[in-house]
């Protein structure tokens, strides 16, 4: 056991903090072939990220309730655990044991398939979210493009559930969701494109690395302020958060495509929308707020302390700080989203489409051209 630990330690020192290699070394130390070690490794990060996202949802639901209450001078959940911290768990349990209703004249196959199709792409998109240099499931080359592609599957699920419910409100909600999601995908993609143009890579890891050359000052938010705003507005629209929550506008559509859903199927929608919110916040922090980067570069701190940045202790501390920074930035954005929810009234459908097509789209195109021009003019500052 001691020798395996030693091997792990050496692996950590050699490769930086790459958990996969150290895990493989550990299992090979026990006496397993490397292919089986690899197979055993594969599901681990996925499970970890799935759990992390679910816990993130619980935290976000609690925050949403508490912050909403505070903004309205209420108390919010109080009795379920200290400060109501177990309230989301209680909500989840309630939804879990509720009767699973399928309306008699609904299309039961599509009705069941809809919420699944909404949730799966959102969870799949966590594939590319980095919490550190090696702390992501897969550093695929198409990186951020994968997220854009996957998020375009979601409207099909919404349309499916809207249609299958056999309810006019559901159908209208589904159609609205699809229209909204298609129109805001374009400015979103253009805003991402401007960032990608500066980092010369679609990979999220490269995008973050390119922002962390000079700490806080090199974050993309200062180079792409307009892009940041466009991305944030579009992300809110994609998540159906409040200024843009037309698909489930209570006053007109009861609950939109969720109207006929109850129990676990409704919980899937609920989960999907919150995971999507966290994911969008994570991607904003990755694309514009320097991801796992600390406002002061870690290298600078280690140099001033006279330590080598490759020392294992420093590596572990840096990775921890990275995770904390990512989560902190993400929840700052979640907080902003909740605050916006109680500040802005819902837009009308024509205003929504006007904003998407007549404002955000031209602005994001101009932003893209401007970024290209700046990249040619100042290749040092804008990624040559």
């Amino acid at each position: 056991m001691f020798t395996t630990l030693k091997i792990v330690f050496i692996a950590v020192v050699d490769t930086g903090l790459d958990l996969e290699i150290s895990f493989n070394h550990l299992l090979q130390g026990i006496g397993l072939p490397s292919s089986i070690a690899h197979l055993l490794w594969l599901p681990l990060p996925m499970l970890l990220v799935l759990t992390a996202s679910l816990i993130g949802v619980l935290v976000t639901v609690w925050l949403e309730r508490k912050i909403s209450a505070a903004a309205q001078q209420r108390i919010g959940p109080e009795y379920a655990g200290a400060l109501g911290i177990l309230q989301p768990v209680a909500d989840g349990l309630k939804l879990l044991v509720k009767e699973d209703i399928i309306p008699k004249k609904a299309d039961s196959l599509l009705f069941t398939l809809g919420p699944i199709l909404v949730l799966i792409p959102v969870i799949l998109s966590w594939l590319i979210v980095p919490f550190g240099q090696n702390l992501l499931i897969s550093n695929v080359g198409i990186g951020i493009f994968l997220w854009i592609a996957l998020s375009s599957i979601q409207p099909i699920g919404l349309l499916m559930s809207g249609y299958a419910s056999n309810n006019k409100y559901s159908l209208l909600g589904g159609l609205r969701a699809a229209a909204q999601s298609i129109s805001y995908e374009i400015p979103l993609a253009l805003a991402v494109l401007a960032v990608v143009m500066m980092s010369n890579s679609l990979s999220t890891v490269d995008i973050v690395n390119q922002q962390n050359t000079a700490g806080l000052l090199s974050w993309n938010i200062f180079r792409q302020p307009v892009g940041f705003l466009i991305f944030w507005i579009c992300a809110l629209a994609e998540c159906e958060r409040l200024p843009f929550d037309l698909p489930e506008a209570e006053e007109e559509l009861v609950a939109g495509y969720q109207t006929e859903y109850a129990g676990m199927k409704f919980a899937l929608f609920y989960l999907g929308s919150y995971i999507n919110l966290i994911l969008s916040s994570l991607l904003v922090s990755v694309l514009y707020l320097g991801g796992w980067g600390f406002p002061i570069p870690i290298d600078l701190i280690t140099h001033s302390l006279g330590q080598s940045p490759n020392a294992p202790v420093i590596q572990i501390i840096a990775a921890t700080i990275g995770i904390i920074m990512t989560v902190f930035k993400t929840y700052l954005l979640v907080f902003l989203a909740i605050l916006l929810r109680w500040t802005t009234p819902r837009v009308r459908i024509d205003q929504l489409l006007d904003l998407g097509w007549k404002f955000l789209l031209p602005i994001s195109l101009v932003n893209l051209l401007f970024t290209a021009a700046l990249k040619l003019a100042f290749p040092i500052a804008f990624g040559g």
């Binding site: 309205q72 001078q73 108390i75 605050l339 500040t343 802005t344």
Partner: protein
Amino acid sequence: MVTFFQKAAEYAQDAISAGKYLLQGLAVTFDHMRRRPITVQYPYEKLIPSERYRGRIHYEFDKCIACEVCVRVCPINLPVVDWVMNKETKKKELRNYSIDFGVCIFCGNCVEYCPTNCLSMTEEYELAAFDRHNLNFDNVALGRLPTNVTTDPSVIALKELAYLPQGVMDPHELEKDSSRAGKLPSEVLIKTIDNDTASIGEKTQ
């Protein structure tokens, strides 16, 4: 071309001002977050109803002369006055009296016009029942006194906004002897009496 640039500039100004207003709104919401919650946690905390609160009607059987004024002034002739004429004494004898609070609109006309003041408004407002027929109160039920919010040991009584001191919005953790904004009626009366006597004094001089 110039008009195009003018339009673009106007558009940009509009966008900027929209952003400014949005930030202003966010600041308001953010500011609200540091204020204390004004929630009254109902079954455990209750507001003290105001002095003229029109709650469930209280009725005293012994005072009633069965004149049926309450029935006549009631918008829907709701009170049921069940009396018989006693031939020997040539007086009405009241047998039963009831008001259905599932139908009553608590306008208070009956209380206003009752010649013997046997009807009065209480502070009770918790009339929920599982069966609407339970809301038909007979003279016994009408004669019961409600539990007072201030005397109920299981309830924390809170003052309503109008009864709080000046500038205070939150009824929780009030100082013990704090009184409402403005003067009490007795204080106002003393002052006017003083003024009156003073003015009378001036006149006599």
